[in-house]
Assembly symmetry: C2
Homo-oligomer: 419 residues x 2
Amino acid sequence: MKPSVEINGARLLKRLDDFAAIGATPAGGVNRQALGPQDQAARALLADLALARGFRVFQDPLANLFVRRAGKNEHLPPFLIGSHLDSQPTGGRYDGALGTLAAFEVLEALDDAGIETHVPIEVVAWTNEEGSRFAPGAMGSMAFSLGHIPGDWDDIKGTDGVLWRDALAATLVNLPAAETRPLGFPIAGYLELHIEQGPSLEKEDIPIGIVTGVQGTRWFEITISGQAAHAGTTQLSFRRDPMVAANAALHSLYATIMPEDENARFTVGRIAAYPGSVNAIAGSVSLSVDLRHPSSGNLDAIEARIVRAFQASALANGCTVDIRKTFDMSPAQFSEPLINSVEHAARHLGLAAKHMVSGAFHDALYIARIAPATMIFVPCRDGLSHNEAEYVEPEHCIAGAQMLLQSTLEVTGTVVIDR
Amino acid sequence: MKPSVEINGARLLKRLDDFAAIGATPAGGVNRQALGPQDQAARALLADLALARGFRVFQDPLANLFVRRAGKNEHLPPFLIGSHLDSQPTGGRYDGALGTLAAFEVLEALDDAGIETHVPIEVVAWTNEEGSRFAPGAMGSMAFSLGHIPGDWDDIKGTDGVLWRDALAATLVNLPAAETRPLGFPIAGYLELHIEQGPSLEKEDIPIGIVTGVQGTRWFEITISGQAAHAGTTQLSFRRDPMVAANAALHSLYATIMPEDENARFTVGRIAAYPGSVNAIAGSVSLSVDLRHPSSGNLDAIEARIVRAFQASALANGCTVDIRKTFDMSPAQFSEPLINSVEHAARHLGLAAKHMVSGAFHDALYIARIAPATMIFVPCRDGLSHNEAEYVEPEHCIAGAQMLLQSTLEVTGTVVIDR
């Protein structure tokens, strides 16, 4: 089946190249950290392209950037498509940029085809999704969903020592052509195209992921304390070895959490023993746990299991354990009607697609709190992201953009040929 | 039963106090690193005490210090008793000093009692047992056992940048009263009193350990390499997680090596995951293994088991493993006749004693290669050593010294009342 409107693949790829040149790194990635000069340059380029095309450009107090293509019913809330333009310090060319530029391509393709949509469609580039210069990440979409700027953000400083407030003000004044808009307004829905940042689409050779939700994430810092002692002189019965306790707990958790539940993610990415001598039983072992699941109930149950496992193994090894939860992000369920529309679009385009849950955070996580939202994923090579070697096949970029366009048409309903 | 000769407990405790004042730390420990000013001061004090008592004092080219009490048969090789006077930078008052000063007390007690021994008895203070300023440790006893200074020691520098050769020369000239002696000479045997540096005597409430040997020690650095990946987006089947591989290998080794063999010691004191992010599957995990056993054959068998366990778990988790052996010290079996003599002495004194294997290195390990040797252990509080809080009950210091004297009399055979 032919798409109703075709996006211009060559133009999209050219745009990806043009934006990748802003903050390009020698290794082929980009360094376009939030609210810095390169981020501002990328925003300015998008605004210039939009204004040249006759679209209106807005920014809100968070410097979220909007490009509006008018719809037939201008009084109705716009439908938002987009992503972000900032990057990790040694980031890739596609993370954020693909979703933003594909969204802009949707506007251009609609324009080229002379389509008038039922509601206005707006491209959005959310501010500071990455959170690498200023933490937390997803500041723009979070504040948009709240309708205000959290009070405790006032003193946020960047890794470079710059106050967030100052960088924000500099970014806002750098785009005088943009109209000003309040923070947060009614929207018809939000659709975000993004690279998967994981290997599953590539490994299964499926070009499109339809994202049903974002996993909830909980982080724990676990410290097991035992008794440092001589490795040679201390026999087994006198050992209170926190390495043994940590090993036993993790062994039982590795054997159960993920094998028993394909939606669970359980990762220990950091571990250290103190004092850390080859010839001394450690006095304590600290490790991090990253736990994710699409269901809050399952997160609660697995968290309880983790706590029990460490308490039991600490007790069995004469140790004590301290467990601190350092991060707790609730899962998001994306909109079922929107998901259905994306599914229709994939069928319409004849593109293989699978439902999946996002393991990474995205702006859509916050927007889903105030409006129907979902995401479209495309494969990235080796699942690699936050890495200068990040790569997406041109055909997948184009297929993703085509899906974004087709889904937008499905969602916004009636389309009108106006010339 | 009464001992044949009694050591002077008050004098021994006084001596321990006097030597603990040399390099005393505010926290109650000592800092008397090898060949430094405090070590030299301790040597000088011992030499002064010896000369005042009419004993001859010698030092060899390694600055091993000998105090000789003549025997009836001066042409026979001397029987050596002693330990070392150097300490860790934040060391305790007893590690080394107890064995050296108790040995000197043996000479004084024999003198006080007017006993002439069959063979000459010499107190020895070996140079640089600790190895904390200059590595390796046990330089003095090692070179004595070899009869020469290893060629690759020439360039050894201290943690303070001082050349070992220079510190040695300064130490030798600092003791002009000592006669010079060649490195290595025939000895009748060697007996060393030392604190256990482990908890077992204290926990079992046994005052005397009779040391049947020193465990062999092997160190390994093991690195498991997998694939760093996103903790949220990477499902189980796509994970190549080196933490999981390390966990599985260690779990099987913890469950078998020590539980199945009470003489084995298996310790992982250091572990780290790279890059070490809470939200990333590690790309690699490095850990240290300290393996000890009194038998070389068992060490070989356990080493093979360790290698197999890591290879299998790496393979099962899509990882690779690199295992490097960074240290390999053969076990030492102490002399059975000497052990029997020590056992007789304990029975004679009515002191509870148990056979044990030393998990720590000692000078006796090297001397055992050239002459009958063994050690006597006394309990230390909480098994603590290499620590300023190191503590030995006065009664255990005295019992240890009495054991050293009685064992020496047992070993050197016939004693002669000469006045």
